[in-house]
Amino acid sequence: MALLSVTDLTRNFGGLRAVSRFSFEVAPGEILGLIGPNGAGKTTVFNLITGFLPPSGGHITLEGRSVVGLRPHVVTRRGIARTFQVVKPFPKLSVRENVTLAAFSHEASRPRAESLAAQMLERVGLRDRLAVPAADLTLGEQKRLEIARALATRPRLLLLDEPMGGLNPREVDGACALVGQIRADGTTVILVEHVMKAIMRISDRVVVIHHGEKIADGAPGRVVQDPRVIAAYLGTPVA
C-alpha cells in the first residue's frame, strides 16, 4: 500500500488555481522528486499536505488515514515532517535546544529528549555545534539543523523543501548522501528541488508540476526527456 496517497488535491486563492486536481502516490522507502518551474505550486503542495493550508478539494491519506483538516502539529505527530524553503530555525535557542524541542514529541523526559536530539545532530554532522545559537550557523548548517529537527519527530515521511538551495557543490554532495542515508534508515522522502543534479542522482521517481497540475510522473531519466516537461521549463520554440 502507498505510504502517502494524494488524490485530486486542489487549492484556490480567490480566482487563482494554485493546485489543480493534483494526484500522486509515494511508496514506503521511496525517494520521490517533485519538480516544476518557479511558481508551479510545489511549496503549496507541501503546505497542503502538512496542514498549513486547508485544501479546497481532494484527499490526502497517510497509510490509508486522511490527514486533511488536521492542524500542522497533529500531522507531524501522525508521522509527516517537513523542512522549509527559507530556513526557520529558532534563532536565539541553541542548536541542541532546537532539536530537543522536536524530540519532546516522542520522549517525555528532558534527558531522553536531549539524547535523541544529540543522535539526530550527529547524523547531520552538527555534533560539535550543540551549544551555538542557531542564528550563528551558516546557511548550510541551518539547513542541516532543520533536517535534524524534522528527523527528531521520528517521521514516516519527510518533506524536504529545496534543501540544496544556496549550497555549494560540495555541500550538495553531502546533502545527497544525507538524504540517501535518511531513506536507508527507514524514512520515506519527498524532495522538492531545483538542483537537477541532485534530483537525477537520488530520486527513484520524479513528479513534475506546472501551473498547479501534474504533467509527468515516472523515472527521472524518462521525465526529463518528456517534451511537455521541457516545454514547461523552456517554453515552446517560436517557429
Binding site: 492542524r71 507531524t76 515532517a81 522549509f84 526557520k88 529558532f90 536565539k92 535546544e97 524541542l101 519532546f104
Partner: protein
C-alpha cells in the same frame, strides 16, 4: 539563580516585616512592590515566555477586583475566597479573549488586546447594574476572622503583607516551574517562530491558551487582592491602559522570561513612583516611559537579564 541565594532571599522577605511592623509606610511600600511583582510575573508568563505582548492585562486584574468586591457586597462571600474566585473568573474571561486574539500574530495581537481591554473598561463604566458604573464599589468593613485564637487586625497592614507575599511567591514559583517544564520550552519555541514550532509537533494554540489562563489567574488574584487591600474599585482604577503598560514595563525592565526579573522591575517601578509621587505628583510616569526606552535601547534583556549575562561573562 542558585538555590541557597533564593532560599535566603525568601526568608528575608518573610521575616523582615515583623521587625518593621510599626512602620506602616514601609509595609505599604513592601505590599506595593509585591503586588507589582505578582502582576509583572503574571504578564511575564505570556509576554516574556511565549512572546505574546498583551497590552490588555488590566482586563484580568479588573475582573479579579470586581469579582471579589461584587461577591462580598452582594453575596457576603469573604474576600479571601472571593480573591481566588476572582482569579478563576479572570481565567474564564481569558478563554474567549484568547479565542479572538490568538488568531492574530505579533503587533496585531497586541493591538487586539488593547481593543478588548478598552471594550471591557467601557462596559464596566456603563453597566451600572453590575458594577455601579463610575461610582465604583466600596467595602467598609472586612469580616472578622481569627487565626489560631487571635483575631486578625485588619487595620494594620501586616496581614495584607503576608497575603500578598504568599501570592507573589506563588507566581514566582509558577514562573520557576515554567522554566523547567516542557510547556515553558514550548513557549520559547513559539516566541521564536510559531510556524516552525507547529511543524515539530507543538500544539501552539493549546500552549498559548493554557499560558494565557495561567497568566490571567495570577493577574486576577492580584486584582482581588487590590480590592481587599484598598477596599474600593472603579473602572478607571482597575481597567486603564496605563495599568497594562505598567505591567509590561515591569516585565521588560526587570527581565523577560526570568523568575527574578519581575521583582527587580517592581522594585524599580515602585521606587521611581514613590520618589516622584511625593514631589511632583505625576512626574513618575515620565520616568517609566524614559526607562522603558532606555532599557529597550541598551539592555533589551532587562536589568536582571543584563546582569546575569554580565556575571556569566566574567566567570
Amino acid at each position: 539563580m542558585n538555590r541557597t541565594a533564593a532560599v535566603l532571599a525568601l526568608l528575608l522577605l518573610v521575616l523582615a516585616p515583623p521587625l518593621v511592623a510599626s512602620n506602616q509606610f514601609l509595609l505599604h511600600l513592601g505590599i506595593t512592590v509585591l503586588l507589582w511583582t505578582l502582576l509583572g510575573a503574571a504578564w511575564n508568563m505570556l509576554g516574556g515566555f511565549a512572546g505574546q505582548v498583551s497590552f490588555g492585562h488590566a482586563t484580568f486584574f479588573g475582573v479579579g477586583a470586581y469579582t471579589t468586591l461584587i461577591l462580598y457586597l452582594k453575596a457576603g462571600l469573604a474576600p479571601w475566597y472571593g480573591m481566588v474566585l476572582g482569579g478563576l473568573a479572570a481565567v474564564l474571561v481569558s478563554l474567549p479573549i484568547g479565542l479572538i486574539c490568538f488568531r492574530l500574530r505579533g503587533p496585531y495581537f497586541s493591538l487586539s488586546t488593547l481593543a478588548v481591554a478598552e471594550i471591557v473598561r467601557l462596559v464596566a463604566l456603563n453597566w451600572e447594574a453590575l458594577t455601579n458604573g463610575p461610582v465604583g464599589l466600596l467595602i467598609t468593613t472586612l469580616p472578622r476572622v481569627a487565626l489560631s485564637g487571635r483575631t486578625i487586625n485588619w487595620e494594620s497592614k501586616l496581614p495584607f503583607y503576608y497575603i500578598i507575599a504568599v501570592l507573589a511567591l506563588g507566581a514566582m514559583l509558577a514562573t520557576y516551574w515554567l522554566t523547567r517544564a516542557r510547556l515553558g520550552a514550548y513557549l520559547l519555541a513559539i516566541r521564536e517562530d510559531e510556524d516552525a514550532a507547529e511543524s515539530i509537533g507543538i500544539a501552539t494554540v493549546r500552549a498559548k491558551v493554557l499560558t494565557l489562563a495561567l497568566s490571567a489567574f495570577f493577574a486576577g488574584l492580584g486584582g482581588g487582592f487590590y480590592g481587599l487591600y484598598y477596599r474600593y474599585v472603579d473602572p478607571d482604577a482597575v481597567f486603564p491602559i496605563a495599568l497594562s503598560v505598567e505591567m509590561v514595563f515591569i516585565a521588560v525592565v526587570g527581565g523577560l522570561a526570568t523568575v527574578t526579573g519581575p521583582v527587580i522591575g517592581a522594585i524599580f517601578l515602585t521606587s521611581i513612583g514613590e520618589t516622584f509621587r511625593e514631589r511632583f505628583l505625576v512626574g513618575h510616569l515620565i520616568f517609566y516611559g524614559l526607562f522603558m526606552m532606555l532599557v529597550i535601547r541598551y539592555l533589551p534583556e532587562g536589568i536582571w537579564g543584563g546582569a546575569r549575562r554580565a556575571w556569566a561573562g566574567r566567570r
